[in-house]
Amino acid sequence: MKAATKFVPGFHFPLFFAGVLLLVPALNSYAADAMVEVQLDVKKAAPRAIEELTEGRILRDYRFAWTSMAQALQFNTFDPLEGPFSGEARRWLRQTVTSQQQSGLSHRYTDQNHRLEAVFYSPEGDVVELHDTAQYHLQILDGEKDIHDENVVVHYVVLMTPGADRWTIRQLQAVPQF
């Protein structure tokens, strides 16, 4: 006698499978995001104080921007740059991706830790300047060949502006020191 396949009432296997397929990239994205540690100190923000809600949004969007940047420069794709970056930051990041596509290089940023300090918040709240002391593990690959591998500390001057639903990075400029 042929064994009958048992179905749990209300359980639809293809739908469940599709759900898992949809969930995996989201979990991956969450995992990458979770590896970006960001702390923000707003005590020195002036002339306007940063409200608690704004602080939370800046933290969330800055973390997401670095996750996106790491993906774009690892896989040499433009899509992750479209939401979190604007202006000059987006221009040079897109240029980097184009250039990497031609040279065959890629960057891998891991174990990111960002200590942010807000140093300027405009009177109308339409631009914030941050100083980021970023620590991360950086690997540069030529195809599969590892040509550079080190833990680095880099200081970034960052300008962020609010958009319709998020803060975007307009300027991201590394400097020797603040």
Binding site: P47, E88, R91, W92, L93, Q95, T96, S99, Q100, Q102, S103, G104, L105, H107, V119, F120, S122, P123, E124, D126, V127, E129, H131, I140, D142, I147, H148, E150, V152, V154, V157, L159, Q171, Q173, A174, V175, P176, F178
Partner: protein, 288 residues
């Protein structure tokens, strides 16, 4: 190898020996400016692959060791951190920073675009200097802010940038009209305009007279406390209270005066307000 190390230690030339052991090395510039060419010197002999990784650039090419690698202005147009990597059997790398060049433009944001006169800290502006490649100029520079109306200078101050930004905040002027807001840095000038408008009414007064159909009520010319006529369209609210009850009419100012026709046949008290400002009250007798 152990023998070589021992010899080096004895001779006090450990660093030189380490170099001698390496196939190639490179020396990056101590400082570089965005858009300006520079070079990286290499040591060793034979061929190697040179990489330059930085903001906006990912370059890879073959080089002859022992010769200089030229970096063009185009390679270094974005300020930031660059890595130069030289690979033959092994890879050696060195990082260097490129800083922004001379300021070539000013991003200048002024708020608000329309402001009532004589308000404290009502006008503010923020200026960011950028070089010709749109890198933020972080070296301190003086930005001159000037606010002028057609016949007076309201504000003039030189502010030194801090972390690449200079800003001001000041009171609006006394008279309605265009306010020119100028930020300048050396020979760079950026202009913005703010429209100053009359503030709240001052001494809001009305007169009224009975007509065949009711009461015609109108304001005297409506000014703010600085003497500016309130703009057309500003709403004035007339409220009539009489035996028939309470009646309210909103009327816009036209050429400085607001008028309204109130329907009331009995003795009526009429008051006036505009925004948060209350005016006088008048009493009009009953229709004869």
């Amino acid at each position: 190898m152990a023998r070589l190390v021992r010899i080096c230690a004895v001779m006090g030339l450990a660093a030189a020996c380490a170099n001698a052991g390496a196939a190639q090395d490179l020396r990056v510039p101590d400082s570089a400016v965005a858009g300006e060419q520079t070079s990286i010197s290499t040591t060793g002999s034979g061929k190697a692959t040179f990489y330059l990784a930085g903001p906006g650039v990912s370059r890879k090419n073959e080089v002859a060791l022992g010769q200089e690698v030229r970096l063009t202005g185009h390679d270094l147009r974005d300020a930031g951190y660059y890595l130069a990597i030289l690979c033959s059997e092994t890879c050696r790398s060195a990082g260097f920073y490129v800083s922004a060049g001379k300021a070539a433009s000013l991003s200048f944001i002024v708020h608000p675009s329309r402001v009532p006169v004589a308000q404290d800290e009502a006008v503010n502006g923020v200026a960011f200097p950028f070089d010709q490649y749109r890198n933020l100029v972080l070296a301190p520079v003086n930005v001159n802010f000037r606010l002028n109306t057609k016949d007076a200078s309201l504000f003039s101050r030189a502010i030194r940038t801090q972390n690449g930004v200079a800003w001001f905040r000041t009171a609006s002027g006394k008279s309605a009209g265009a306010l020119q807001v100028v930020a300048s840095l050396d020979d760079l000038t950026t202009r913005r305009a703010v429209q100053q408008v009359a503030s709240d009414p001052c001494n809001l007064r009305i007169t009224g007279q009975r007509t065949k159909t009711g009461i015609l009520v109108q304001t005297e010319p409506v000014h703010d406390c600085s003497g500016n006529v309130l703009p057309d369209g500003t709403i004035v609210t007339f409220t009539a209270t009489g035996p028939e009850g309470r009646d309210t009419v909103d009327a816009p100012i036209k050429q400085g005066i607001a008028r309204a026709q109130m329907d009331s046949s009995g003795a009526t008290t009429i008051s006036v307000a505009s925004g948060v400002v209350m005016g006088n009250e008048i009493r009009v007798g009953a229709q004869p």
